[in-house]
Symmetry: C2
Subunit: 121 residues, 2 copies
């Protein structure tokens, strides 16, 4: 790369990099649906598997691990028999609320636009 900083370097640091950070954590088909489901109330693995429509056990397991690593979701093992595992959203996970709300608002508006004005520029 170049030794001399490009003019948009400032733009990158303050505008693009944090967005990439956020997208890295939230990307993929399932993470946000899982978070939304857990925001309503905590759930066990099989309950999540049923409630997050279409996800496979492998993906659910993988996504939950990543969300736990990022401190967005908490995994609690209860010493019952058989063992039950409970997933809940952390306080930090709740900090995603505004992001999720904006995404949802935009998605709803977009859906309206697609349905009612499909050909409009």
């Amino acid at each position: 790369m170049e030794a001399i900083a490009k003019p948009q370097t400032g733009l990158c640091i303050t505008h693009i990099l944090p967005i990439r950070d956020a997208l890295d954590i939230l990307s993929g088909k399932w993470k946000i649906p899982i978070i939304v489901a857990l925001c309503v109330h905590k759930r066990r693995f099989k309950e999540l598997h049923r409630d997050v429509t279409g996800i496979t056990a492998k993906m659910l397991s993988k996504e939950l691990k990543e969300l736990e690593m990022n401190k967005l979701v908490k995994r609690t093992v209860h010493d019952t028999s058989p063992v039950t595992v409970e997933y809940s959203i952390t306080e930090y996970g709740h900090s995603l609320g505004p992001v999720i709300n904006e995404l949802r608002d935009w998605g709803l508006k977009h859906r309206d636009k697609i349905i009612y004005h499909p050909e409009e520029a």
Copy 2:
């Protein structure tokens, strides 16, 4: 990739589906960086290729087509020689502003958290 996801019930319709719609359109490594770059000012292909650090021509071409299909970006061909092509953000593209701002805010806060409180729950 479907423009509109399958019909479902309750929580899904009002909360999860619109988020999926939004993510379908914005997903991937490059779309939001491209939109952010174009928000600053319109650019030609090669300029974008230089300014969106790391993207390949193939991906840039592909992403621009998808963004154009979704009316977020406008492609204008100028009858110069050689032909110049100009990409600009549409008014509809600007409607993503709040989403991008929230993502950026959260990404900045997350970065702070990772840097200053890496072990905290």
